[in-house]
């Protein structure tokens, strides 16, 4: 009796692993690979506020710092990097180079299913017409 129960449990576990693991073994069997997202780079500008690797890893920290400086500390003095001045502003600075949010932010965020709420309030300057 005890042996029967072990077999049944093992079978149930195997079935559960097969069902819940489907996304993994299915894509592994078919040799599917996730495409690396390709955010659109600005045409004219080559330099950002921080080096590209640091921006890639920590842009959210920088945005939070700017947000806290501007909103909470009232410190809206522009940030000078390499002779260029950047306003501490998402629409006023970031979107002036990365013109289309859809072609820049959304490319990576979309591929990893991350949905930051920035543009619920901040305005994507590339958009026109009524909001949905």
């Amino acid at each position: 009796m005890a042996g029967n129960r072990i077999v049944k449990t093992a079978a149930a576990l195997a079935l559960a692993a097969a069902i819940f693991g489907a996304p993994f073994w299915w894509s592994a069997l078919r040799g599917m690979k996730q495409k690396a997202p390709a955010p659109e780079k600005p045409a004219a500008e080559k330099e950002c506020v921080l080096p590209a690797t640091e921006m890639r890893a920590g842009h959210m920290t920088l945005l939070f710092q700017w947000r806290d400086d501007a909103v909470r500390r009232g410190d809206r003095a522009p940030v000078a990097v390499g002779g260029k001045k950047y306003e501490k502003s998402l629409t006023g600075s970031c979107l002036t180079c990365h013109v289309k949010k859809e072609n820049f932010c959304d490319r990576c965020h979309g591929s990893i299913a991350s949905a930051p709420a920035c543009f619920d309030c901040h305005i994507d300057t590339s958009e026109r017409g009524p909001w949905k």
Partner: protein
């Protein structure tokens, strides 16, 4: 040994916990804002609205539209869901009991401008559980939309009705083509109000409403600076504030 409630209170009293607890009241009493000589330190942004200059053109809404356009405040037809940062109402409703049936006949039934009073002792700030609304060092009572959770405690606390709640997505009433692109909109489930144009004050500019007024009826400046436009106006005129008896210490004055 089991401790009864009475035992606990006795011990707490003896160890001074109850006494020290009183120290927390010091923090909110506001005395920290005064320098050693008892004079106020730092700036305190304030506004003086010249009622008589304002009532000259009863239909004028230049200041309101400048503010609402500049801050992407939606025009929502349903009055119960409307968003207002600055609006007009009768003097009698704004400052009940100030007018009597005989004096100031020209002001009876006339409108004046209403907006957030930027209180020195703001009840909204006391009740905000997330720190989404707070008083800056220059006295401006700010809203941080990033932190607002839409609990509306601040709306219940505000004695002036200066705050509005976004019952729905305000963007449904705005157009991408005509919004002020350098200023964000708000989102569903957050509270908003006049912020004395803090984003402009930080750049050394005055509020949009003051700039839009053809009659120059809206004066703006530092209440702690004797030479400021507001202080000069207050020195020579009688000024009223809304519900001063509540102890909120408003920073918006109405010049008579």
């Amino acid at each position: 040994m089991e401790m009864t409630r009475l035992d606990f209170l006795k011990k707490a009293w003896r160890t001074g916990l109850v006494l020290f607890g009183g120290a927390s009241f010091e923090v909110v009493s506001g005395s920290a804002l005064l320098a050693a000589d008892g004079k106020p330190s730092g700036r305190r942004m304030a506004m003086a609205i010249d009622i008589r200059a304002c009532v000259k053109d009863a239909g004028c809404v230049k200041c309101i539209s400048a503010c609402h356009r500049g801050h992407n405040v939606p025009v929502i037809p349903d009055a119960k869901r409307a968003i207002t940062w600055i609006w007009k109402d009768t003097i009698d409703r704004a400052m009940p009991g100030v007018l009597d049936p005989y004096s100031g006949a020209d002001l009876r039934g006339a409108n004046t401008l209403l907006l957030c009073n930027q209180c020195a002792n703001p009840p909204c700030v006391r009740v905000c559980p997330t720190g989404a609304t707070w008083k800056r060092e220059d006295g401006i009572v700010m809203m941080d939309q990033h932190r607002c959770i839409g609990c509306r405690y601040c709306m219940a606390a505000c004695p002036y009705g200066s705050r509005s709640f976004n019952w729905g997505d305000p963007r449904r009433y705005l157009d991408k083509g005509s919004v002020a692109r350098d200023y964000p909109t708000r989102t569903k489930g957050t509270v908003e109000k006049c912020e004395f144009c803090a984003e402009r004050v930080d750049r050394g500019l005055g509020p949009l409403c003051a700039g839009a007024c053809a009659e120059k009826a809206i004066l703006f400046g530092d209440l702690n600076a004797p030479g400021s436009a507001v202080r000069k106006a207050l020195a020579g005129r009688i000024a009223l504030r809304r519900k001063p008896e509540l102890g909120t210490d408003p920073s918006v004055y109405y010049l008579l």
